[in-house]
């Protein structure tokens, strides 16, 4: 039995209306094996995972044969499938928070999963839930069973979701982007946990992700998808070494972010952006009638400098204070201490006309390509919005000419100016956001996780565009991200932030190749790498 296939999928095709979403997908997974399913967004990888569990939208029509451990899933009724999901197939999804019931204690949630499938006493179910939460590494948590989802971090929630997926000892696990919403260190921990479970229980697993580096760390074999078809299927090491298919090669090339060669800067020029000793505190909710609570210090004495034309990376986990710092630098919030100066002007204390003048020199690109634009405005209006900062607004002709110019600079066409943002894809929207940031010819552009929501192919294009623009326009970037590989690819110098402080700074190559601070070392170790297939670092366990 050990050599036999645990899961066999033959000619799985899915169509919604006339649109064929999956075309004859065939794959196999052995017991104890992890199959990585990769592809650009829209390539059908999630649909394949859902097709196997028969969790397709009601309008979809599905053909093909799916066999799990000898039983044919594709001929089962929906009622039978409901019993199989959870018992024979466990599932873990991207958003751990939305997978859990926010009003139910986590112990009860795990126990409920058990009782939905087995005739078992409440006591036994609770006992099993405790065992399972121990197994996924929540044993150290005092009273873990009694906690509610909002009391847990994203990583802990994902552990609970995994506990619910494996509590009935299914033979097969489907994980759809299980770590995409988590930061690097947590991601590494969750991946290790999944890998350990698959190995120790001899389960099979399909890991759906757009991140080849995650695949490289975890999967034994890889199936590459493109437009609903599997274009290549091979052992991980082989695909990483020499991909046979053009689409796999493109995916690999886009994932292999080349470390940037540091540009040399002229000595003696003053910094364009100088941040000195910034302190930013937020009031905490009052819990006592008599004592005012101590404020939460999100940014604690941070100093950094950005020189003309240079790209600075600011790295840190969620909650490290990066976003608060960025808001102070953009003069959206005032700091409680310290000073931000831009081109010699005191930005953090400026008001009125001075503030408007300084703001022209610093612009921003946000993470979410969908939330960054007013849906009712046209691209021209959106890109032209920062013209508000000019003391004399440009004439309509001038305005149109400038918008057309920046649109072309970011690789879009001037004809796009009259269209609304909803007609553009995520990558195109990020180009529009960059165009909006360029329109006032700023000295510094801040990027807040600006490529995190994009898939690898688009991400590579946007990074190439940014490198090109920096070269041509001599604009400096302040690039905030939790993704070390991205920072490595774009930054000349790096600041590492932890709990509101800068714990390490230096040239990108030096910081990533020989990190000195323990936190940087952990980040570098946890960051998934394409190069070492099938091995997560032991450092974290």
């Amino acid at each position: 039995m050990s050599a036999a296939q645990l899961l066999e999928v033959m000619d799985l095709s899915v169509a919604i209306g006339a649109v064929r979403i999956l075309k004859n997908v065939s794959l196999e997974v052995r017991a104890g094996e992890i199959l990585g399913l990769v592809g650009a967004s829209g390539s059908g990888k999630s649909m394949t995972a859902r097709g196997i569990a028969r969790l397709l939208p009601p309008t979809a029509s599905c053909t093909g044969i799916t066999r799990l451990n000898g039983q044919t899933l594709s001929s089962k009724s929906e009622a039978q499938m409901r019993a199989i999901r959870g018992r024979d197939i466990g599932m873990v999804f991207q958003e751990p928070m939305s997978a859990l019931n926010p009003l139910m204690r986590i112990g009860d949630q795990v126990a409920e999963t058990v009782r939905a499938h087995r005739q078992i006493s409440d006591r036994e179910a609770q006992h099993l839930a405790r065992e399972m939460l121990d197994l996924v590494g929540l044993q150290g948590e005092k009273g873990a069973l009694d906690r509610l989802p909002y009391e847990l971090s994203g990583g802990q929630c994902q552990r609970v979701a995994i506990a619910m997926a494996v509590v009935l000892s299914p033979q097969f696990l489907i994980a759809d982007e299980p770590t995409t919403a988590l930061d690097v260190i947590t991601q590494a921990q969750v991946l290790l946990l999944l890998q350990g479970l698959v190995r120790s229980r001899n389960m099979g697993m399909i890991l759906v992700t757009h991140d080849l580096a995650v695949i490289a760390q975890l999967a034994d074999r890889v199936a590459v998808m493109h437009q609903g078809e599997i274009v290549e299927q091979a052992p991980t090491a082989e695909i990483l070494r020499r991909p046979r298919n053009a689409h796999s090669a493109a995916l690999l090339a886009a994932s292999e972010l080349q470390p940037k060669r540091a540009t040399t800067r002229d000595g003696g020029t003053p910094a364009v952006l100088q941040v000195r000793g910034i302190v930013r505190e937020y009031p905490r909710r009052r819990t006592s009638l008599w004592h005012r609570p101590k404020p939460l210090r999100a940014v604690d004495g941070v100093s950094l400098s950005v020189y003309a034309g240079e790209t600075i990376g600011l790295v840190g986990e969620s909650g490290s204070g990066k976003s608060s710092l960025l808001r102070v630098i953009l003069a959206l919030e005032r700091p409680q201490g310290g000073e931000v100066s831009l081109l010699g002007g005191a930005l953090s204390s400026a008001t009125g006309a001075t503030l408007r003048r300084l703001r022209r020199s610093i612009q921003v690109v946000f993470q979410d390509p969908y939330g960054s634009f007013d849906p009712r405005w046209t691209v021209e209006q959106l890109i032209g919005e920062p013209f508000f900062l000019l003391s004399t607004p440009p004439s309509n002709v001038e305005r149109r000419r400038k918008v057309a110019m920046v649109l072309e600079q970011v690789g879009l066409s001037a004809a796009d100016a009259q269209r609304p943002p909803r007609e553009f894809s995520g990558g195109e929207r990020q180009r529009i956001a960059i165009a909006r940031a360029l329109i006032t010819e700023p000295a510094v552009i801040a990027f807040d996780e600006a490529v995190s929501a994009l898939d690898v192919l688009i991400r590579a294009q946007i990074l190439a565009l940014l490198a090109d623009l920096a070269e041509r326009l001599k604009v400096a970037y302040l690039f905030v991200s939790h993704d070390l590989n991205v920072i490595r690819a774009i930054a000349d110098r790096v600041y590492v932030m932890q709990q509101g402080r800068i714990v390490e700074e230096g040239a990108a190559a030096a910081v990533f190749d020989s990190p000195r601070h323990a936190y940087t070392q952990a980040l570098v170790a946890a960051s998934p790498k394409l190069a070492i297939p099938g091995r997560l670092t032991e450092y974290l366990t």
């Binding site: 503030l355 408007r356 612009q363 508000f388 909006r436």
Partner: protein, 270 residues
């Protein structure tokens, strides 16, 4: 099914509401008879070819009275909704834009108005300042203010967490300008829906106030007063109560259908 049902409530609501508005507009220039002219010889005629809805105890044509009553009803409800929007929407925008103390003061002020039973307060206001259409409008309008303020604030807060408001601030725009340029246009759908709902509540409130004699005074016609006068004659001439009653019911139903249809349509496009 759902799509057809959605269209049904939207279009039937729009049709009924539209019909009443047209009737009110026509009544400005023409009614079958002049409802101010009394004709005792024609009193209490049941519905007939000459008088479709019959005549009342003073011989006035009921159809003509209802047509002019529609004017009062539409006028009072519409103006009170406009008052509620003109004051409530800016307050809600301000509240969401400023947060902090401003928000607290505005919203607690809203709570204060909400704490009073609306109709009782309207009766108090009209009793103190004298009965009349203008005072009825003011009384109903005041109670529309907190409704619009809350709806606007809730919708605005959802937009303030979106990145485009941050982008606008980086472009140097202050919160009030952002409220005007970005937030308000995106709230219009929501406000139109709430407007339809408040309109129907306004029609009921106006009928209630005029029933107790605190809204429009004679010779201005109103459905509430027609109902009041018909009350003593229910046994003799039931149609006197029937037609104004149906008018109130149908108009409110139409407005509610319209509001529901608009709400679903807004939900679908969002």
């Amino acid at each position: 099914m759902s799509s057809a049902a959605r269209n049904l409530s939207l279009w039937s609501g729009a049709f009924i509401t539209g019909a009443f508005v047209v009737v009110a507009a026509v009544a400005q220039f023409w009614t079958p008879y002049d409802p101010r002219v009394l004709s005792i010889t024609d009193k209490l005629r049941p519905p007939s070819a000459q008088h479709w809805f019959g005549t009342d105890q003073l011989g006035r044509d009921v159809l003509s009275m209802i047509m002019q009553g529609a004017q009062t009803s539409v006028g009072v409800a519409l103006v009170s909704v406009i008052i509620g929007m003109c004051v409530g929407v800016p307050l809600g925008l301000l509240s969401a834009a400023r947060r902090g103390a401003t928000d607290e003061i505005v919203m607690r002020g809203n709570d204060l108005i909400f704490a009073f039973p609306a109709l009782l307060m309207a009766i108090l206001i009209t009793a103190v300042f004298g009965p009349g259409a203008i005072n009825a409008i003011i009384a109903i309008g005041i109670f529309n203010i907190p409704v619009f303020a809350r709806v606007t604030r809730a919708g605005a807060l959802q937009q303030w967490i979106r990145d485009y408001t941050l982008a606008a601030r980086v472009a140097g725009k202050d919160p009030l300008r952002i409220s005007w340029e970005h937030i308000l246009p995106n709230l219009l759908g929501l406000l139109v829906v709430q407007g339809a709902i408040q309109f129907s509540l306004g029609v009921i409130a106006e009928a209630g106030l005029s029933y107790v004699g605190l809204s429009a005074q004679p010779p201005i016609q109103s459905w509430g007063r027609m109902l009041n006068e018909a009350q003593t004659l229910t046994v003799l001439a039931p149609y006197l109560a029937l037609f104004p009653g149906i008018a109130v019911l149908l108009f409110v139903l139409g407005l509610n259908l319209l509001g529901e249809g608009l709400r679903r349509r807004a939900g679908r496009s969002a």
